[in-house]
């Protein structure tokens, strides 16, 4: 116990974050804990792959070559550098297909998510602001949507309209919107009773202006957090659909399709299914991790999500 106040090392009282910088391994560990370095690296890699797929990929993603049929990865016996991660059932290069497949996942993550976020947020703002009948109708729609088994619905739709990238992207946008509505509406219910909204109304702002200029900016953080927590689920849904054969049609190398391709050859060629699955796992994990981090930063109240 220090005798005088001056003897107390103030740094020990401070929260760990502002303590004197630690050196070496401990510093690196702290840095890794505070910043999502690893997820960011994974996601950045995927973004780069999806943009420059044709430049990075060592081979074509659709060129079959039966000499490399079910060829093991380069480091295994019988493998060579022509097929670094091995060849698939018809001898296509798995690595190149993975790189091109990143493009599909990125499209899901941007187009579908954005579509769902815009529609869901708009409906949430409208439901929360108008209340009464409109609120009731929108929220009941959300309830109905929640009770439909998505995979079955998606199967029916893709078969009705011929599987294509566009149909899958729209379907996933439809899957995404409902979560936004519930949370955004709850936020709006609080926001609309604040003084500044009342002041805007008294000043004669139109309903549209109140919603766009005064309410929407207040829920942007929530929207971002939900979006970042939701994107992983969208990618998983896309993968499941592709796996069931109702997703993105060949020859587009969606990762779910690649897993399904290797299913019948598990005993002979484990790598055909294993690598694309690992890619999905890493991507979704990084998105989720990043989402958690963003939530803690932007909106800790959403911890239950």
């Amino acid at each position: 116990m220090a005798a005088n106040v001056q003897d107390i090392d103030l740094r020990t009282l401070a929260p760990r974050a502002i303590q004197a910088p630690v050196k070496g391994a401990a510093y690196a560990w702290n840095f890794l804990r505070r910043w999502p370095v690893i997820p960011a690296t994974v996601l950045l890699t995927i973004v780069v792959c999806s943009i420059f797929a044709s430049q990075i990929a060592p081979h074509s993603f659709r060129e079959t070559d039966l000499r490399f049929r079910n060829q093991p990865p380069a480091w295994m016996e019988g493998g060579n550098t022509q097929r670094i991660l091995g060849g698939d059932v018809v001898g296509r290069d798995i690595l190149s297909r993975l790189i091109h497949g990143a493009r599909v996942e990125m499209m899901v993550a941007t187009i579908s998510l954005l579509g769902g976020a815009i529609v869901g947020t708009a409906l949430g703002v409208i439901a929360g602001y108008y209340g009464r009948v409109i609120d009731e109708i929108i929220m009941r729609l959300v309830d109905i949507w929640f009770s439909i088994p998505f995979i079955l619905f998606a199967l029916v739709v893709t078969i009705a309209f011929e599987p294509s990238l566009r149909v899958v992207l729209i379907l996933l946008a439809i899957l995404a919107w409902s979560v936004f509505v519930r949370n955004i509406r709850a936020e709006i219910l609080v926001l609309k009773n604040t003084d500044y909204v009342a002041a805007a109304r008294i000043a004669g702002a139109s309903t549209m202006k109140i919603m766009m200029r005064h309410l929407f900016p207040g829920v942007i953080n929530t929207m971002m957090v939900i979006a970042s927590l939701r994107v992983g689920q969208l990618i998983l849904a896309e993968a499941s659909l592709s796996f069931l054969g109702a997703g993105i049609p060949a020859p587009t190398p969606a990762w779910g399709v690649m897993v399904s391709d290797g299913r019948s050859y598990l005993d002979k060629a484990w790598w055909v299914s294993t690598f694309p699955g690992t890619a999905i796992l890493l991507t979704v994990m990084s998105f989720n991790f990043f989402g958690d981090w963003l939530r803690d930063r932007l909106d800790p109240r959403l911890r239950q999500l």
Binding site: F146, V157, S273, M285
Partner: protein, 316 residues
């Protein structure tokens, strides 16, 4: 509370019907179901005969009339016949239902007995080794594609190690141990994501409660650590996991489509998937009705449980 429940129940029923209406409509857009009738053997079928069959199953009526006929039949307990074999849908349905319900139940048990303790352990050791392991477990469970986890399970435990059987539920007359062996892999695969959600929910609820005044009070007056955790904190942190557990049942029932496909499980998920590809709309509509009804019922149950376990909740 009575009024709240009545209102919830009314909307739950309405939701189920609306859900079936949507899927019914979309499934009729798939195209002419009769095309599937001709395919197997009937090359010689005349257009007139085809039309007669169409009339018999009501395909010439407007969609909404077809739906009303179907839902009228359902209310009288008649779910229609399957398209290809013309057997009553309800017979096939009842034949497949046990496998699906058993697998959901097994996965639910796995998820609960693994997820909740992991969540508690991770909250109590916040920042410690167990916390990192628990959070890694949850992060993995929420990010892994179920079908891939299933395939990897089969690859490792069935193909490489040959410890567990994969595919099908096993013969009906198999011994208890043999049946359990067939359940292990699919229920673990299906249950992991649920366990992950439990772990996260329990962890955040526990952290909140452990931080509350009454827990500090209990600690301050000298209650033993374990007793504080289990008696004071855990019982109060159980509310979110309990309500979640009801929803999880519904989630497993409809979410196991993919698992059933991977493991060749003879259940409703596979039946529904096949009915989509065969355009067997009676079977499909019945499956959707079942899944939607389970979901509506379970979320109703979740709300009710919520109101029961947490008396602070006052519904208007």
């Amino acid at each position: 509370m009575g009024r709240f429940l009545a209102r919830r129940a009314f909307f739950a029923v309405l939701t189920v019907f609306a859900a079936t209406l949507i899927v019914f409509t979309v499934s009729r857009l798939v195209g002419d179901p009769l095309q599937f009738l001709i395919r197997p053997e009937g090359y010689g079928i005349s257009p007139e005969a085809l039309e007669a069959i169409g009339k018999k199953i009501g395909l010439d009526r407007p969609l909404i009339v077809q739906y009303l006929i179907w839902i009228g039949g359902v209310l009288r307990g008649d779910f229609g016949n399957t398209l290809l074999t013309e057997k009553p849908v309800i017979d096939i349905f009842l034949e497949k239902a046990p496998a699906t319900i058993q697998l959901s139940a097994a996965a639910w048990i796995v998820a609960t007995i693994v997820g909740v303790p992991v969540g508690v352990l991770s909250a109590v050791n916040r920042g410690g080794v167990f916390d990192y392991i628990g959070r890694g477990f949850a992060l993995f469970g929420q990010a892994v594609p179920v079908f891939w986890l299933g395939i990897m399970g089969i690859l490792i435990f069935s193909v490489q190690l040959d410890w567990l059987p994969s595919g099908t539920k096993g013969p009906p007359d198999a011994s208890l141990w043999e049946t359990i062996r067939h359940f292990i892999l699919p229920s673990l695969v299906l249950g992991w994501s649920g366990a992950a959600s439990y772990a996260r929910l329990t962890r955040s609820a526990m952290l909140e409660v452990l931080d509350s005044e009454f827990v500090k009070m209990a600690r301050a007056k000298g209650v033993a650590g374990q007793k504080v955790i289990w008696k004071h904190a855990f019982r109060n942190a159980m509310i979110p996991p309990i309500t979640f557990s009801a929803l999880l049942v519904a989630f497993f029932l409809s979410g196991q489509v993919v698992v059933e496909v991977v493991f060749g499980w003879p259940g409703l998920g596979r039946l529904a998937t096949e009915s989509v590809f065969q355009n067997d709309f009676n079977t499909l509509s019945t499956s959707v009705l079942f899944f939607a009804a389970m979901f509506a019922f379970m979320s109703f149950l979740a709300d009710t449980l919520y109101a029961i376990v947490d008396p602070r909740i006052r519904y208007s």
